[in-house]
Amino acid sequence: MNGKTDLETLIEMMAKLPGLGPRSARRAVLHLIKKRALLLMPLADQLTRVGQTVRECLNCGNIGTASLCAICESDKRANGELCVVEDVADLWAMERASVFKGRYHVLGGALSALDAVGPEELRIPKLLDRIAAENVSEVILALNATVDGQTTAHYIAEQLEGRIAVTSLAQGVPVGGELDYLDDGTIGAALKARKAV
């Protein structure tokens, strides 16, 4: 025993969550205690349940509670389009938009010269296997517009060159964006990708 009460341990653990520090963790714990029946107990039950069942989808790398996630299980999503994202958070962002109706492939990161992350550290070999096995007609590279993200995109495009259609997300002015506040790189990319109106 290190002399800490359960409550102190809980606050310490909550303080490790992103966006929370010791002070905000104390507030959150206090709030949970005040709403014991409504919030604390259901949260504890749910955490236990998710802790026991959560797993990575064997096919795409998404997070789910079965060996295949709901997207990979659904036949409706097998439309031949495969969207490649870096992280599960990116997959969730795409799903929030409710525009893409195909399947996903989560790489688990991006190639990084600095951190010595190579293709073997990512799920790129699995991506190539899936393209062969799942009758994929188009791969959409939805990778971050960062040096690492685009290095990964070019690497994958190179691997798939001549085998399948490979596209990537457009880069430019965000919806609601004002030109005055954009960096010169974004304005340059937007100008290069201009379209007829």
């Binding site: 992103p18 966006g19 010269a113 600095l114 010595a116 190579g118 517009a145 960062t146 040096v147 685009q150 290095t151 070019h154 690497y155 495009a157 190179e158 960096d183 010169d184 790189g185 974004t186 340059g188 990319a189 290069k192």
Partner: protein, 239 residues
Amino acid sequence: MDWREEGVVLARRRHGESGAIVEIFTEGHGRHAGIVRGGGGRRMTPVLEPGNQVDVAWRARLEDHLGAFTVEPVASRAAVLMADRRTLAGLNAVCSLLSFALPEREPHPGLYQRTQAVLGMMGEGPYWPIAYLRWELALLEELGFGLDLAACAVTGSVEGLAYVSPKSGRAVSEAGAGAFKDRLFPLSPALVGRGEGSVEDLRDGFRTTGHFLRTWLAPALGDRPLPEARQRLVDLLTR
């Protein structure tokens, strides 16, 4: 302690939830690291992409402290170069080699100017691979491993130079090579600023600089392997 200068972002690592530790290459202070508060946030992330030109103010209580940077964007090179796989690979190779090879806080104004020039040439025309190759020579030279390609190591002649000795790093003429020519590297015209930068010239040039980066520079830095980004660029330019 404080200073203010322009520099090139070499690398960024997340630090905590919203901060970043950034390496910047400046003319007067060399490769210098510092914390950027908010450097992991949405506003600063595009500014701190490798290759971008920034105006930085560094401040620390003591000289040997890591210190904190205040960063203002000057030019978004990364956004321009990432559209093409070759220039992106070039950008990655420059930044990762500088990060790999330069000692911290040691000014290399000559190399800084060469770096500015090569990054400026990328995406501007077809000849930047030659400039990059010669930048690798400049990197070797700046760190004390310069090659001598001006005259033949055997005969002293400045005419008919055709090889580079993998041992001495000196040029060797056709006449001076004699029976040892199979053991020498062909002297790529690109290394001495001639030719159009054909695939063969670049291949020979990269073979030479790669050899000396591996056998001279890397052992002096603890025998770490060269950054993979360089090999990726070489593969793209020489296939």
